[in-house]
Subunit: 139 residues, 2 copies
Amino acid sequence: MLHSSDLLKKNGLSITESRKQILELFLLSDGALSHSDIEKKTSAAFDRVTVYRTLQTFVEKGIIHQIPTTDNSILYGLCKDSCEAGHHHDEHVHFLCNSCNKTICLDDVTVPHVKLPNGFKPLQSAMVVKGFCDDCKVS
Amino acid sequence: MLHSSDLLKKNGLSITESRKQILELFLLSDGALSHSDIEKKTSAAFDRVTVYRTLQTFVEKGIIHQIPTTDNSILYGLCKDSCEAGHHHDEHVHFLCNSCNKTICLDDVTVPHVKLPNGFKPLQSAMVVKGFCDDCKVS
DNA sequence: TAAAACATGCAACAATATTGCAAATATAAA
DNA sequence: TTTATATTTGCAATATTGTTGCATGTTTTA
């Protein structure tokens, strides 16, 4: 079992209470988390600003990645081992369940390549699929 | 040339100055627009609230659609003719240019289907590709 | 043209995000 | 282990973004 302190150390970050707890949330969560999710789950133990800065740091270090949304929120998901600082490899599909409202990283489903019009040079792709997840499906 | 008033009439909306001007912005723009883009481009001629409600109305009527972003903004793009109220057909790829920062609807590039793990039922998909656009490409 | 329906702007408020700085904590060095 | 340095945190202040109710103004319908 990967422990939060190890992951912090591995990324050259000093080990603090807020970083440990917030990272632990991601390790234990089965879905992506937003800023407000984290505030709730930590019972606002940390200042809003600390949470903002922690998330930003984690993104920069390649510990978590941002997931596109159509509302004005930012979702964060845990990165796989292959991610590094400044060099994310999060080209997997994200699934948003219409029922339980969770957003899940489908780490094994890679975003397919698409043929773009002439002149367009793709660098990264992101994909979000909405529907019903494994747990909520009508069987 | 499609005129804003026609489009409003076609969708059963009363024709007002703010709706005309905001819709005109979309018709003339070559990229997607955010709330703040619209405020700037109209020189804040309309109240913030009016802009919010206008965008909401346009989305409901299928005139514009929301585009996923990884920041805390909402982007809106003009819908194709095939969109109707409550029934969008905007499963095209969106392209975000790292250089000029525009987001462009690639209406002719449809989002490919992906094979999901067992139990996941997809309903809609969205895709955003980042890179360099036609105008900004290093040739 | 008048009445009804609808849209707008204002005010008040709520939620979300950013910055500088002093205090507190973690790490590195002695 | 203790001290010095570097880093992180929390607070305060402020900015930005989003929402609601209601009176006023505008558009549409008859």
